[in-house]
């Protein structure tokens, strides 16, 4: 099937098999390997990207489902050379160790920071329940997101 999709601001047109998973399209066809495959069952969240602005788990979508959509991956999050406040905050707060879950954590947070009215530690922990980290624990990840939220209050992204 033919799909037209905009990924990180670039228009693509590809002939894909109907069964091709979106995450495989991103990683294997577009070679955007910043989006990871952890569990392939929507549990771990490491494949999280944005589809039309909403955080979505790309291992549980087909490539044909994003026909006509705008997709944003971790590679497209930073504006030009400037890091997104979340990326900056993860670095500042040691919010990552091995880095495997990081793209998903950041993409999930980049969506819910726009929607959550209550940015308490508890509500951030709750919003992160679909993302697993196996190295650092979640303390520094939550800390990073809280710092980014503060910064984005001053300068909205």
């Amino acid at each position: 099937m033919e799909i037209h999709v905009k990924v990180n601001g670039v228009e693509y047109q590809h002939e894909v098999e109907p069964r091709l998973l979106l995450v495989h399209y991103l990683r294997d066809v577009l070679r955007l390997t910043g989006t990871h495959i952890g569990c392939e069952t929507s549990v771990c969240g490491s494949c999280t990207i944005h589809v039309d602005g909403k955080a979505s788990k790309s291992c549980n979508m087909l490539a044909v489902q994003v026909d006509g959509c705008e997709v944003l991956t971790i590679e497209g999050l930073a504006m030009k050379d400037e890091l997104h406040p979340l990326q900056e905050a993860f670095r500042d707060n040691h919010g990552l160790q091995c880095g495997f879950c990081t793209a998903g954590m950041i993409m999930t947070a980049a969506d819910f920071l726009n929607e959550l009215s209550d940015l308490s530690k508890e509500s951030i922990q709750d919003a992160l329940k679909g993302n697993l980290c196996r190295c650092t624990g979640y303390h520094n990840i939550v800390k990073s997101i809280m710092q980014a939220a503060e910064k984005m209050k001053e300068v909205p992204v």
Binding site: G34, I74, L83, Q87, R91, G99
Partner: protein
Amino acid sequence: MSATNGMIGQSVKRVEDKRFITGKGRFTDDIVLPGQTYAAFVRSPYAHAKIIRVDIDEAMGMPGVVQIFTGKDVVHINGVPVGWP
């Protein structure tokens, strides 16, 4: 103080973080090399059983299969660390 650039007691940013937070890390599954092959592991479907023999003939004849290794191929390797003796 000068020898350590004043880093003692300071929080230091990791040099590898930039690539991870921008999606430019390179994990094993991200690597594509010319002629690269892939491994698939076949595990026992039984929790407690005795292996009488492993028949690889049919699998070996499938398209794209380069090689199959079974326990016989690694029997000469001693001391593979496992949790059980």
